[in-house]
């Protein structure tokens, strides 16, 4: 079954084609769907929230969706098949070849050979294959990507049930799964880059799913443009890797780097930073994070799948994939760690002051991604990937839970208008609560193990400042996540009566994925139990060990920590998390709910305003890049164009041309025409003379003839 690896991305591709074609066919025959959509659009009926994106539940008002059952079955089925093949292939591969031997399946040659000169002498043949690689890292990725992806597909069937663009949505979703699996399965940088761009495209398409809404279309464009900046860095990194190693195949490149690090080290920092710029864009790190909060304009399952669980972790995956290269550049590693840590606390501090439930989750995602990069930066790649894995479960569950809430609230996303939903939506409440405990890092939920590993490794590697910032972030995380819990689910309902009447638990297609992901949020951490609790308990560490190739001449001792210190650190982080939860409990529940936060906001109005407006980063970017570099640059270019290009070159050229043309005209008029007229004049003069000779009088001719004869005879006689 391991040779059927190529089937894994192929299933979603087939699903994309089926859904896309059916949608296009029905779109043709049923006319323009957006007309009907406008009238029945859930956003149109929503209480005008800024980023409403949930469908309403008034099924009876909606026209029938063509091929709805086909879309609803084909799309999740394809992902389920992918999931089954993935698991089968992983088992088969582990059983027959073992973890240490990556299994590569090549299905076709993409770019055949061409010889290129290398930096530092020698040459290499550039050739790229469509090949897929099954190794511990990609196995981890495909297993949870297909599993979580399948659950979110099922959820979407319920959530998107009344949408006119049902088929379009599932076509995009399947295309996304195809690209994502291409990204994680690709055996060389080019295939990975193809998937990388593919997920970016799908992200754009799905953020702009409600394309008739300006904010959604703009958010899609923003995501696309910001991602392009990162992709440029990634592409530069890939070029650099080829220039040095002469290959883009993972196996070849990493083996070469590990065997002869001295060849790579001079370029390591530049290349790793280029690669990391790509990761910054895709995984929403400072300064390229701005697209992710806006990406919440897409439907909530999209936010869950793409902008929380899978796509945004691609940057972490890439850094972990290139761990050999990163380990050779301590400067790049430190940069990654600092950026990750700064992003973590920055996003967490913004999340504290947001009232839109999806916005909170979006900033929380950015913050958690920061943790993952912090882990990679301090060398704890296992910890980073571990957090990717656990985060996929609890963040997907949180997003789907928020989607369930928004669904029940008919599109309302403002938490100030919620409250008391616990009794109305018990399943949503409990799964959301469990996931919040997981993200807050409460033992024994999933997030505890991964986050604690990250913090522990950060402390152990000697980055005390980063550890402190990470710890504060953990406290903030616990606080703002439980703030959403209390604002949404406890207390009294604060919305309108109509909304209250409408409240209901979501259908089974939505609650079952929630339950399964909730279980995942509890148990996913058990694959990485710290060694202090149980010997050889860290299954994930052993599983991922083969991807960390030993680097020649760099075998350093693991920075060991005493068990006592390790347990102490855990106790501290759990204590901080609990403190965060307690503060949220004190602030947002009971008799005096909201009183304290309000007082704090009044006491520090400017600080509150800054946080509420997300540090004005969007405004700053707008001023610097859009207004400044864009429009100001446009003005500068306009002036440059008017003064220099037009003034000097265009007008100068015009003057030169005019002078030349004057010369040319002069030459034409007086020399060329002069010659023409001269010839004509000469001929005319000649003709005037000769004309007189041809008098038409025969006697004249005879006279001339006779005269001429006489002259000839005389000449003959004289000069004989």
């Amino acid at each position: 079954m391991k040779d059927l690896l190529w089937l894994i991305p192929l299933f979603p591709l087939a699903g994309f084609l089926v859904n896309g074609i059916l949608y296009l066919v029905s779109h043709r025959t049923h006319g323009e769907p957006t007309h009907g959509h406008e009238a029945h659009s859930p956003e149109a009926k929503a209480v005008a929230p800024p980023h409403a994106s949930a469908p309403s539940a008034h099924a009876d008002q909606h026209p029938a969706i063509p091929f709805k059952s086909v879309h609803a079955i084909v799309s999740p089925l394809m992902i389920a098949l992918s999931c089954i093949v993935s698991l089968g292939a992983i088992f088969d591969w582990v059983r027959t070849e073992g973890l240490a031997h990556p299994h590569v399946v090549t299905i076709a040659t993409w770019i055949p050979q061409g010889v290129n000169a290398l930096r530092g002498g020698g040459s290499a043949a550039f050739s790229v294959d469509w090949s897929f690689r099954l190794d511990p890292l990609s196995a981890l990725m495909i297993s949870f990507v297909t599993f979580v992806g399948f659950l979110i597909h099922v959820y979407s069937v319920g959530y998107m049930g009344h949408e006119e663009g049902f088929g379009r949505f599932f076509a995009y979703l399947n295309l996304f799964m195809f690209s994502m699996l291409l990204l994680v399965l690709g055996s060389n940088f080019v295939v990975m880059f193809t998937g990388w761009e593919g997920v970016g495209l799908c992200s754009y398409l799905l953020i702009g799913y409600y394309y008739e809404k300006n904010f959604a279309a703009d958010a899609g464009k923003k995501a696309f443009v910001v991602n392009r900046i990162g992709d440029l860095g990634f592409a530069l990194g890939i070029f650099g890797i080829f220039a040095i190693f002469g290959s883009l195949d993972f196996g070849t490149v990493f083996a070469a780097a590990a065997a002869h690090p001295e060849k790579f080290v001079p370029y390591a920092t530049v290349i790793c930073l280029s690669l990391f710029v790509g990761a910054m864009g895709k995984s929403a790190q400072i300064p390229l994070y701005v697209w992710l909060p806006d990406a919440m304009a897409g439907p909530t399952p999209v936010s869950a799948l793409i902008h929380a669980a899978t796509m945004v972790t691609a940057g972490v995956y890439m850094v972990a994939r290139c761990n050999v290269l990163f380990r050779l550049s301590p400067d790049a590693m430190l940069f990654v760690a600092v950026i990750g840590c700064a992003t973590a606390i920055f996003a967490a501090s913004i999340a504290v002051a947001q009232n839109d439930i999806k916005k909170v989750l979006a900033y929380s995602t950015i913050s958690q991604l920061g943790y993952m990069f912090l882990a990679c930066g301090v060398g704890a790649f296992v910890g980073g990937m571990f957090h990717v894995f656990t985060h996929a479960f609890f963040k997907a569950c949180l997003f789907l839970g928020s989607g369930s809430v928004i669904h029940a609230m008919a599109g309302e996303q403002d938490m100030r208008k919620m409250g008391g939903l616990k009794s109305r939506m018990p399943t949503t409440y409990w799964t959301y609560l469990v996931s919040c405990l997981a993200i807050a890092g409460i033992i024994p939920f999933a997030g505890f193990f991964s986050k604690d590993e990250i913090l522990g490794e950060t402390f152990g590697s000697g980055h005390r400042l980063l550890y402190a910032v990470g710890l504060i972030t953990a406290g903030l995380t616990a606080f703002y996540m439980f703030r959403t819990v209390f604002m949404t689910f406890s207390g009294k309902f604060r919305g309108t009566e109509e909304q209250e009447h409408h409240l209901h638990e979501s259908p089974g297609t939505m609650t079952w994925p929630l339950r399964i992901l909730g279980v995942g949020a509890v148990v996913a951490g058990f694959v990485g139990i710290p060694e202090v609790f149980r010997a050889h308990g860290h299954l994930l560490k052993n599983w991922l060990a083969p991807i960390f190739l030993p680097i020649a001449g760099h075998e350093g001792a693991e920075p060991g920590m005493t068990p006592g210190l390790e347990i102490g650190l855990m106790a501290v982080s759990v204590a901080v998390a609990v403190a965060g939860i307690l503060v949220a409990l004190r602030f947002y529940t009971g008799e005096r709910a909201f009183a304290t936060p309000k007082r704090i906001a009044e006491r520090f109005p400017s600080a509150h305003r800054v946080l509420e407006n997300k540090y004005y980063v969007d405004e700053a970017y707008d001023a610097v890049f859009v207004e400044g570099l864009g429009k100001g640059g446009g003005r500068f270019l306009w002036d440059f164009d008017a003064r220099v290009i037009d003034g000097f070159f265009v007008h100068g050229a015009r003057n030169v041309v005019m002078a030349l043309s004057w010369l040319s005209s002069f030459f034409d008029q007086y020399v060329v025409d002069g010659m023409v007229n001269g010839v004509a004049g000469t001929l005319q003069a000649g003709y005037r003379g000769l004309k007189r000779a041809q008098s038409g009088r025969v006697q004249n001719y005879a006279f001339v003839m006779g005269g001429g004869f006489l002259v000839l005879v005389a000449a003959y006689l004289i000069w004989r």
Partner: protein
Amino acid sequence: MNVTINDYLALSFLIFTIGFVGVLVRRNFLTVLMSIELMLNAVNLNLIAFSRRLSDLTGQIFSVFVITIAAGEAAIGLAIIISLYRQRKTLNVDEADTMEG
């Protein structure tokens, strides 16, 4: 009195000159035609004189051809004169200057 070839040639030159001057100066077409005849006959006299002097009949035969051609020339010339007279009601050579450039 002994007549020599020089005498013939002198006579021939005289007649030819009279004819040529007549062609050049006379305005009447008929007179011009007659002057041409004079020139032709001057040539004939010249030919015969040399034929006799050189005891070669070629010159005499040539003069017979010239007389024949002169007869044809006269016929055509008269025809042209008649035609011209019908067109212009005149025989003045100067009037026939249609070919002026």
